[in-house]
């Protein structure tokens, strides 16, 4: 049915837009779509909507909050019968951040990851990190761990500002 397929893809687009309006609880400039947490929005043959999300870090406390926010947003939009499922595979990595999301992070003052997680420099734990304020590459790591599970702590040697780096995992 051509009309049915068009309806369902219109509905899927509408739900994607709805989810783009849900901010990450820890980094509110990013939506959960920017973060790559939403894996799929599908209209199933039985008419129900299926939404798949994936956790970032295993222990990230924001995951529970995000699940509740997605459920509430779906309910409020009339999708109370939508199935919300959690998928683990393939695992989330910082590579799932969209390019729009990276730019939002930088403007917010958090350095986004610049290289893929499997790049040789990442694997040795010495990625190139640019200062989100002045753009200098003369930066140094203060701590591999920061205020939330997704961040490491850096300092710029050019402008002397401390800043957060979205860690690569």
């Amino acid at each position: 049915m051509v009309g049915g397929a068009a309806d369902s893809s219109a509905r899927e687009r509408e739900v994607w837009q709805l989810l783009e309006g849900i901010p990450d609880p820890e980094i509110p400039v990013l939506s959960i779509v920017d973060l790559g947490i939403v894996r799929a929005v599908r209209q199933e043959a039985d008419g129900r909507l299926r939404v798949a999300i994936t956790p970032t870090y295993s222990g990230c406390p924001a995951t529970d909050v995000i699940r509740c926010q997605v459920r509430a947003a779906l309910d409020a939009r009339g999708y109370a019968d939508a199935v919300l499922e959690e998928v683990l595979s393939p695992p989330w990595t910082s590579d799932w951040l969209t390019s729009a999301g990276r730019e939002k992070l930088r403007r917010f003052g958090i350095a986004p990851p610049e290289e893929a997680v499997s790049s040789p420099r990442q694997l040795r734990g010495s990625p190139a990190v640019s200062c989100p304020r002045c753009g200098s590459r003369e930066t140094e790591r203060v701590s591999e761990f920061g205020s939330t599970p997704c961040k490491a702590h850096y300092r710029c040697r050019a402008c002397a500002e401390p800043f957060d780096y979205f860690k690569c995992l």
Partner: protein, 263 residues
């Protein structure tokens, strides 16, 4: 015990064994995560306080995924909270190494580094196993474990090859904790059954990889590996050191006092 919800006979037995195996992995992550959380507000520097809290959170997150799965396999309606908060020490299946007290920072680092190196091998093996749920959890966890290992092995080398005092403390921690390492790679009947079923990796195959990594790190840290010692602890079979009971008393206090309480 009534096992009505699980398949009867040989299949049911295998599923219970499978549940026990997943519980071992879960409990090691949970107990180590709880130990690291004890450092919050007490670590030697703010950065290390944050690091230990973050690593703890990752481990507890891994434990939640694994406990949920173990509960489903068991089929008696126990969820992650029931398994974490309403079991007594002999029902815990963690490695005895994980429950050892924090001691000084050297003991915490050595314990953590030994288990990080173990988890790296176990998770890599599980990723290749036939159990797709366990493989997905392992694929997620191993990324975090690599990050943890960089932290723990970094401190091992820095403190081992540091001052006279730090070197001596690291050597002492290694001597104190080494006796718990045979449990990491000594397979028992359950381990062998799981590896025969293709669910778990063979511990005998992983052991040399772990040994090579640990030996190299110890060399870089200018420390000396202690001699092999007898193996009287069987944490993964529920035979624990006295320390686990105290850890659980604190961790389970709220649920034991106010059963069913939630935020």
């Amino acid at each position: 015990m009534i096992l009505a919800a699980t398949p009867a006979g040989a299949d049911g037995q295998l599923q219970q064994a499978h549940s026990q195996y997943v519980l071992r992995l879960a409990d090691t992550s949970l107990v180590l995560g709880q130990r690291l959380a004890e450092w919050i507000g007490h670590a030697p520097a703010l950065e290390e306080d944050l690091a230990l809290a973050n690593v703890s959170l990752d481990l507890i997150g891994q434990a939640r995924l694994l406990l949920t799965y173990a509960g489903e396999l068991e089929g008696q309606g126990r969820d992650e909270d029931a398994l974490a908060f309403l079991r007594d020490a002999p029902e815990f299946r963690n490695l005895a190494l994980a429950e050892q007290p924090n001691g000084d920072f050297a003991h915490t680092i050595v314990r953590h580094w030994l288990i990080d190196a173990w988890q790296l091998e176990i998770y890599a093996g599980l990723e290749r196993g036939v159990d797709t749920r366990l493989a997905a959890i392992a694929a997620k966890a191993i990324r975090e474990t690599r990050y943890h290992y960089r932290f723990s092995s970094g401190w091992l080398v820095r403190l081992g090859d540091g001052t006279e005092e730090s070197h001596e403390r690291m050597q002492r921690a290694l001597a104190d904790l080494w006796r718990f390492t045979p449990e990491l790679f000594t397979p028992d009947e359950l381990d062998e059954r799981m590896s025969a079923a293709g669910i778990a990796p063979s511990l005998a195959e992983l052991a040399p990889r772990w040994s090579a990594r640990v030996t190299e790190d110890v060399r870089l840290a200018t420390l000396a590996l202690p001699a092999a010692q007898p193996y009287p602890w069987h944490g993964k079979r529920g035979v624990h050191t006295e320390h686990l009971g105290y850890l659980l008393a604190e961790m389970q206090h709220l649920q034991r006092t106010y059963p069913g309480a939630h935020w």
